[in-house]
């Protein structure tokens, strides 16, 4: 199995397209960094010793808005206000100034959205890893080795996972390094304040970032698995890329549209891929819990894998 994965990685990293993808990721993180740095040097951090009063003022404003708008605007906005109020109160109580300088962690945290892009690249790899062998005609030489088809497919899937891990780790570590160079380390390690169902808790910043990157990767992994399945079943990488990217950009919105009317929306894959909803904010459909989402994700995962394996094993390789 190790050798098979080694083979798949060889095939990925011998193609120039892969380096273009990695180059793009690095370029975008760099551009974001340069942009933030440029903005930062424009204004200085407001170092106001009266920050407690400022926060109190903000809170009274927010409370007024909550009272006025409750029932008129979507719940999510009210939740957002409440979260802000709770966090501000926590800061006042524990003497944690919000006026710390923009540091490496803020930068890394801002870059979480780069995972979308890394996910896109992983989808492209997953979509091509089986279908390309058919396009190149190399599938014939690949399948006449003393290795069963299932093992080949498993090796290919593992390779997709490894590739995903590589790009996410690359984004994370490059953002960290670049953040340190551009913005320096945090002066005093300020904790991350998490608001979940009415209570505020302190988290180590590093742990928060790790879990935030990890949770955000769930979406990308499920989509990559789906792309992999389509690739194995339909032997078409463009179809796999097309469907997966379309769902990646619209899946969440479509699901929340459905969720407004129907309760069964909670069984849709995209209602469950965003696990951060259980740690911060509130779930999409009332009554959804973390174990529920995990079960749904596992069911989808097994379904994708089963489909891919059954079809790939039975397929007659002609033409």
């Amino acid at each position: 199995m190790y050798k098979l994965v080694q083979n798949e990685l060889l095939k990925i990293f011998k193609r120039s397209g892969t380096y273009v993808m990695i180059g793009l990721l690095i370029l975008i993180v760099t551009v974001v960094g340069a942009f933030v740095k440029y903005q930062e040097s424009g204004g200085t951090v407001p170092d106001n010793s009266e920050w407690k009063q400022g926060l109190q003022l903000e809170n009274t404003n927010l409370e007024k808005q909550v009272a006025e708008l409750e029932g008129q605007v979507p719940d999510s906005q009210i939740t957002y206000y409440k979260r802000q109020i709770a966090i501000n109160e926590y800061r006042i109580e524990h003497g944690l100034s919000p006026n710390s300088a923009y540091s490496v962690w803020e930068f890394v945290s801002d870059n979480v959205s780069i995972i979308e892009l890394a996910g896109m690249f992983t989808i492209i790899i997953a979509a091509g890893i089986v279908a390309s062998e058919f396009n190149w005609g190399t599938i014939k030489l690949l399948l006449i080795r003393p290795v069963s088809r299932s093992r080949i497919l498993v090796a290919k899937y593992l390779t997709v996972l490894i590739f995903a891990l590589i790009v996410v780790a690359l984004c994370f570590s490059y953002s960290t390094v670049l953040g340190f160079i551009l913005f320096g380390g945090p002066e005093n390690a300020s904790p991350y304040l998490n608001y979940h169902q009415g209570t505020v808790t302190e988290q180590s910043m590093f742990m928060h970032l790790l879990s935030s990157y990890g949770l955000n990767s769930v979406n990308m992994l499920m989509l990559a698995t789906m792309a992999f399945m389509i690739s194995a079943v339909f032997r078409s990488s463009s179809l796999a890329i097309g469907i997966s990217l379309f769902l990646m950009f619209t899946g969440a919105q479509l699901t929340s549209l459905v969720a407004m009317k129907y309760d069964w929306a909670k069984y849709i894959l995209f209602a469950n891929t965003d696990l951060t909803q259980y740690f911060e904010g509130s779930p999409l459909v009332e009554g959804m819990t973390l174990p529920f989402s995990i079960i749904v994700l596992v069911v989808y995962f097994i379904l994708f894998q089963l489909l891919a394996h059954l079809v790939f094993k039975k397929r007659d390789v002609a033409a």
């Binding site: 050798k3 399948l143 006449i144 003393p146 039975k314 390789v317 002609a318």
Partner: protein, 308 residues
């Protein structure tokens, strides 16, 4: 003689249509078996079934005693094959391609790769990307890829497709050498008859999914009775004479004289007739039919039977 490949009553059905119908034959060690048939007859389908690329509807195929259906990994570990064009990963070097396939078989050492590269004569270019290779070099790389794991069976689907005469000759020499010196069983498919004639020991003819004939190349070309050509000028007269004296023989007029299908023992009697009738005879020679003529003859015969 030891059969390494046994094909037993193999049938392939796709959507209710029989593509391959009850084919059976064996291939022995050290033998080059030619698989001959017009396009669309089922050569490639049969070959794909032997290497397990497509499923078998009925019957079984055994390689070195292992069934390709139930014991795929063991069976296929004895096989090296090129199915149609030897498509490789074009963005990788020849060496990386071989390394890739070597990793998929048990115990193929780096030295073995070098040895195979040497054998097919690609040593100078092996580090170059495959996309820079000529068709002949790709074909040779394809051959190298088959030989990595020292297979007992070599299966080559149209190995000389698209090659120039020098390339064809090179591949042919390789194939003969592998069968003779390494005692491999080789299956070669082609619709190029002249080539099969030079390469193969035995030939199986497949037509419309059925194996219509298996013969040794030698017998195949010669057939049971021979044709002799009498070189002479008065062709019409000679033909008339023979019709009277030997009505059972078929006589044909050729550009040189007349061709008669008959046995060797009858030659003196016919010569006597020509001499007594004052026909000048310039020469007598045996005409060997080319494989092509025999092939067309056989396929036509069978087709005739099928249509009646």
């Amino acid at each position: 003689m030891e059969a390494v490949i046994e094909i037993q009553n193999v049938t392939k059905q796709i959507k209710g249509r029989k593509i391959i119908d009850q084919i059976s034959f064996d291939v022995n060690r050290g033998e080059v078996f030619g698989f001959l048939g017009p396009n669309g007859a089922g050569k490639t389908t049969t070959i794909r079934m032997i290497v397990g690329l497509i499923g078998i509807t009925e019957g079984d195929i055994k390689i070195a005693g292992h069934s390709i259906r139930t014991d795929f990994e063991k069976a296929v570990s004895h096989v090296g094959a090129i199915v149609e064009n030897p498509e490789m990963y074009k963005f990788m070097s020849g060496y990386d391609n071989l390394l890739h396939f070597a990793r998929m078989s048990a115990n193929v050492s780096k030295e073995k790769i070098d040895e195979v590269v040497e054998l097919v004569g690609l040593t100078d270019r092996i580090k170059d990307k495959v996309k820079t290779y000529s068709l002949g070099m790709r074909q040779r790389l394809g051959l190298a890829q088959c030989l990595l794991h020292d297979p007992d069976v070599l299966i080559l689907d149209e190995p000389t497709n698209g090659l120039d005469p020098a390339g064809i000759r090179e591949i042919r020499d390789h194939i003969r050498m592998l069968a003779r010196e390494r005692n491999m069983a080789v299956i070669v498919s082609s619709h190029l008859l002249s080539e099969m004639e030079m390469m193969c020991d035995r030939i199986g003819i497949i037509q419309q999914g059925m194996l219509v004939d298996v013969q040794l190349v030698h017998d195949f070309i010669n057939g049971a009775e021979k044709v002799y050509q009498f070189e002479l000028i008065e062709k019409e007269k000679a033909k008339e004479l023979l019709k009277h004296s030997h009505p059972q023989l078929s006589v044909e007029i050729t550009s040189e004289g007349v061709a008669v299908a008959m046995t060797r023992e009858e030659i003196p009697a016919i010569v006597k007739i020509f001499v007594s009738e004052d026909i000048s005879l310039y020469g007598i020679e045996e005409v060997t039919k080319s494989l092509e003529e025999r092939f067309l003859e056989i396929t036509k015969e069978k087709e005739g039977v099928a249509h009646v």
